[in-house]
Symmetry: C2
DNA sequence: AAGATAAGGATTGTTCAACAATCCTTCAAT
DNA sequence: ATTGAAGGATTGTTGAACAATCCTTATCTT
């Protein structure tokens, strides 16, 4: 190991550390809240009181308000004038809209399979294999994560960072819906074989049939969510 | 005019007024800044000083910071730790990504033409007619606005509010690029006939040919923007 | 002349306290 | 049961203060 090599990895590490330290407190708070909302610790409908949260997180109300503003654009929180900030409760209309958007984006991206590079293609296959392994071990959280990775990988076929970002937002909102509906295990179990079907069609370059299968997935998933939400 | 009817229009009017008054100062400031950035009054690259802007708009620095947080997610502003907030300067990579995203979304939405309602179809036609009238009167700002309406109308074929919102963001970012490049008159003049072509294909239900024309528009427009930005 | 270092000034990031505005809850009157 | 008033809690905004960071300028060294 020469000095030049040592300099390289040290420089990389120093750069990573610098990026971490340069996040403002408001951004850090937003990150903590985002995680807590997405993992279901803070449930949909819950009010985020400035006073209580400011004391708990030991930050000032102004800093907290900045963090809230960062999160409302992600549609995870709803800001109501004079009433406060709440975790969004997705309704049936939200689900319908989310799936309408996903159909356009993900089916459009899927059509890019013929010109996609091998890394992007492999990401789709790997997410399916990973989900199947998780299912064999009964790790349903892992299956859910694999499903998200599958859909991210489809979107990534388009090669647009902005599209990836928007799909992240859509998927995050869908996670709120899961928290409303409770245990999503049977949700994921049924759809893993559909992901396998889509990936197999793609591997045979049968893009039209893959798109048809993806649309069927969206139809079934949406119907399932809408039905469950209607029962709440 | 019966009392029932009178109650209806009064109630509607009172509701409109209530919505207007319930915007917080931070949101109002964000709206003012958004408009100023989009119409090019505040140019890409300009720093928005909290001190100067707070004095000019007669709001406190804390309120201004909230407004900034609202705008950074729209990708109009860039927030740099300890250095301040700047109007984003789009580069070539941004343009490439913007058009990659638009190809997926707008072409995907265009495919929904066969099942679209008449109102949505008419919005596309009307935006083209409107642009042609603006061009006859030499109103190039109006032509630019009509072009934006055309693309909004295409997106609206998908019937998703979230998609509409995302395309608004993409189009807003593109307007920043126009401000970098200067007078966009010749940009719009050349593309008005392409919009007409697309609308005519749609009216004949030749959706594939319309999509082909839309892709050609994206290719030419992107190339034009990239070329001009490279010269700056 | 070019590069490095230090100092000073300006701006940003955060906190705190205060007050106004608004909402929500409770209680009393009808 | 409904309405109105009062009180309490929370949100929205302001301004001052201080710490942290960056940028500019001046000085020193090579």
């Amino acid at each position: 190991m020469t000095t030049v090599e040592a300099d390289d990895w040290l420089r990389t590490l120093a750069k990573d550390g610098a990026e971490i330290d340069r996040a403002s407190t408001a951004e850090r708070v937003a990150g903590v809240l985002r995680s807590r909302v997405l993992d279901g610790y803070i449930k949909p409908g819950r009010q985020l009181s400035e006073k209580a949260l400011g004391e708990a997180l030991k930050v000032s109300r102004n800093t907290l308000r900045e963090a809230f503003r960062l999160l409302t654009h992600e549609r995870l929180l709803v800001h109501e004038y004079s009433r406060g900030v709440f975790v969004r409760v997705p309704g049936v209309a939200d689900i319908t809209d989310l799936y309408a958007a996903r159909r356009i984006i993900e089916c459009g991206a899927l059509r890019r399979w013929p010109e996609a590079g091998e890394a992007r293609r492999e990401a789709i296959r790997e997410s399916v294999r990973w989900g199947e392994r998780r299912a064999e071990e009964g790790d349903w959280d892992g299956v859910g994560t694999a499903n998200i990775r599958f859909h991210r990988a489809i979107t990534a076929l388009a090669g647009s960072a902005r599209l990836d970002e928007e799909v992240e937002r859509l998927l995050a909102e869908l996670r709120l819906a899961f928290h409303v509906m409770g245990d999503p295990e049977e949700f994921y179990r049924d759809y893993l074989p559909m992901n396998r079907e889509i990936a197999d069609f793609l591997d045979r370059d049968e893009t039209d049939r893959a798109e048809g299968a993806l649309l069927r997935y969206f139809d079934v998933a949406e119907q399932h969510l809408v039905t469950v939400l209607r029962e709440q």
